[in-house]
Amino acid sequence: MKTKYAYFFLLPTILLLSVFYFLPTIQVFYFSLLDYNVFGENEFNGLSNYLRLFNDPNFWYAILNSGIFILVTPILMFLSLMLALVVRETSSTIKLFRSIFFLPVVTPIVIVGIIWRYIFSEDIGLMNYLLSLFSFSSVPWLTEYPTNLFSIMIVTVWRGFGYYMMIFLAGLAVIPKELEEASRIDGAGRIHRVFYIIVPMLKPTLILIFVLSSTAAIKIFTELYIMIPGTPDSNKTLVYFMYKQAFENFDFGYGSAAGVIIFILTMGFSYINIKLMEER
């Protein structure tokens, strides 16, 4: 239904996003072309910040590490879908589990850091303690690369399954009850029901979660900042790299260039995937 009214629906969005998202973004694009000094003189640098990025081994490591983090997405999607299927019943005990699974999302990040740093502590942590019970030797969960990335991935999955579970619940709630009832009466097994009835109906939700999760994975920062700030730069991810350049080294132009690349990468990745998934 072609209509001009669409623009009214989109007006507030366009207004707000332009002023508060796109305008600053353009400014950041501009900063990336400068030797930007917030306190005074800016020198136009052209693309030399980007050239520097290209030659910076830590930037390439950051890309690699961010890429590794995308592995979290399929794990999270699977886990949260399974959990959502379990907790969609309406009994009170089940509802309690919904809240419990959601707790990691609302637990303050500082607490998350304290507890998980303890769990992964090489000397006194829970993980190595459990390993020792089975006569395995200690693992340097936080100090060695790439093990420390996997430790952070575990924390990320822990933080995320409740979050995506909720989105799946919303998606599941819209599936007509009759459809599922019908297939159950037909004698379809539970797994069959899940994969052939539910998942196809969840397609828009799946796409949403894939994009949100993979974007969040590429842009992961806070968990690393809280858990392993002391590891070398080659262990860090893209947004951490950007943050460090902009806010620890005060090299704002260089950090902006990194930000621009991050934007292009995540944008490209998401858009391509959406197009691919919406075709099928």
């Binding site: 306190f39 005074g40 000397d123 060695e144 620890e248």
Partner: protein, 429 residues
């Protein structure tokens, strides 16, 4: 239709929140401090009231910012042309800001002898490129905080308290051998303490003109290797190479280690969070090297170049850092004033038997022999230098390379950075 009305109503209500600009006849000086609220609320309100009474043409606006967002807030305000006039900076921030030409040269506004009230080494901390870019404010130095009980249980006595770095290394080994627990937490791999130890021991990190790295001299390698060995032999916690210095007191107050080197101000934290540890705590002077020099940590007050009222801002900065106000400041929490007169106040010499006072007195004495041991902070790219050094230590401790190899590699990086301060000219560093 109804919904559009509702929507507009919401928008209209929201405009209630827009602040109306007040017409001010007074000149406003904005003064930003780092995480001093709410502890010093009363102090600053009184301080500012008094100043405003004496200077009725001015309105001092005090804003305190937590560390977590400090740098973003400062940068955002500066970028928006809304930076403060007077700002409290830590030595890291001071070095960075000075390098970016953000700070006014105070010697342009006051005669040279006005700066003589400050402890010379403290004032040195605020001089970059021959400009005085800040006034030293409250100082800190390190003392040895240790757990008497733990010491006793490990078969150690007062006589075992280390005074030199080699004694420290020995005691770290002996304690663990005797008790099976870690003796000490010191961050050696992130914002590493080793440069400070080297400085105190008299081992130069660079030549005097800062053009060449020298920490990979045989002296330097030998000194650092002792600590790398300690780590490799399991005498230091595994996370010592990645935990930042801000976590020093945590290791102590949770009973994981028997001793730490940190400022006396942190005793309060131990008292608040771990009473049982606190009641077993004692203090001693910090370990120093052959030069006998202690580390000086200084907070400073600077005037931003962007200020519209520089002269008045400088006047206010001197007011905040005068001896009287600094003594009052130090009486609230255990920090040290930066003026010579204030440091000689009986408050810092008369013992009343409490642990805090004992620590305070020890620290105060040390301050007269304290300098900024990390000379490389003066370099505009000090953060990259620090990173290169930290990574070398981490590699060596994890056994990936020998200490010598790690330090040689770091020295190469340092030489590249020292030769070309402008980052665009150094690929990948």
């Amino acid at each position: 239709m109804r919904k559009i009305i509702l929507f507009s109503v919401i928008l209209l209500i929201s405009f209630l929140f827009v602040s109306c600009s007040k017409k001010e006849d007074k000149k406003i000086i904005e003064f930003w401090t780092l995480q001093l609220s709410p502890t010093f609320d009363k102090y600053f309100n009184e301080l500012i009231d008094k100043y405003e009474k004496d200077h009725p043409a001015f309105d001092i606006v005090w804003i305190d910012i937590p560390y977590d967002a400090a740098i973003q807030k400062l940068l955002a305000s500066a970028a928006a042309g809304n930076a403060p006039d007077v700002v409290n900076l830590s030595s890291d921030f001071l070095a960075k800001f000075a390098g970016m030409n953000a700070l006014a040269d105070l010697s342009e506004f006051m005669p040279n002898d006005s700066f003589n009230i400050f402890l010379p080494n403290a004032l040195d901390n605020c001089i970059y490129n021959k400009k005085i870019v800040g006034l030293p404010w409250y100082l800190n130095t390190y003392v040895l905080i240790y757990n008497k009980d733990f010491f006793k249980n490990a078969g150690l006595t007062q006589a075992d308290i280390p005074r030199t770095f080699s004694e420290l290394v020995d005691i770290t080994k002996k304690y663990k051998d005797n008790s099976g627990k870690y003796a000490l937490f010191w961050n050696i791999g992130k914002d590493s303490y080793l440069p400070m130890m080297l400085g105190s021991e008299g081992v130069e990190m660079t030549d005097s003109l800062m053009t060449k790295a020298m920490f990979n001299s045989s002296e330097g390698i030998a000194f650092i290797d002792k600590w790398v060995q300690l780590y490799k032999d399991g005498y230091l916690q595994s996370e010592s190479i990645i935990k930042p210095g801000s976590t020093i007191i945590e290791a102590y107050q949770s009973g994981q280690v028997a001793m730490v080197f940190t400022g006396p101000v942190f005793l309060r934290r131990v008292k608040d969070n771990a009473l049982s540890i606190y009641s077993n705590t004692d203090v001693a002077p910090a370990v120093v090297g052959k030069t006998g020099k202690h580390e000086l940590a200084a907070m400073s007050i600077s005037v931003m170049n962007s200020s519209q009222h520089k002269k008045e801002a400088v006047d206010f900065a001197f007011y905040v850092t005068n001896s009287e106000n600094q003594i009052a400041f130090s009486k609230i929490e255990t920090t040290y004033p930066s003026t010579i007169v204030a440091l000689n106040d009986p408050f810092f010499t008369i013992d009343d038997g409490t642990l805090e006072t004992k620590a305070r007195i020890i620290g105060a004495k040390e301050l007269f022999d304290a300098v900024r041991l990390r000379k490389y902070l003066e370099h505009p790219q000090f953060d990259k230098l620090r990173d290169a050094f930290d990574e070398a230590i981490q590699k060596a401790c994890l056994g990936k390379v020998t200490t010598k190899e790690a330090l040689d590699e770091a020295a190469d990086k340092w030489n590249k950075i020292l030769a070309h301060p402008n980052p665009s000219q150094r690929d990948g560093l």
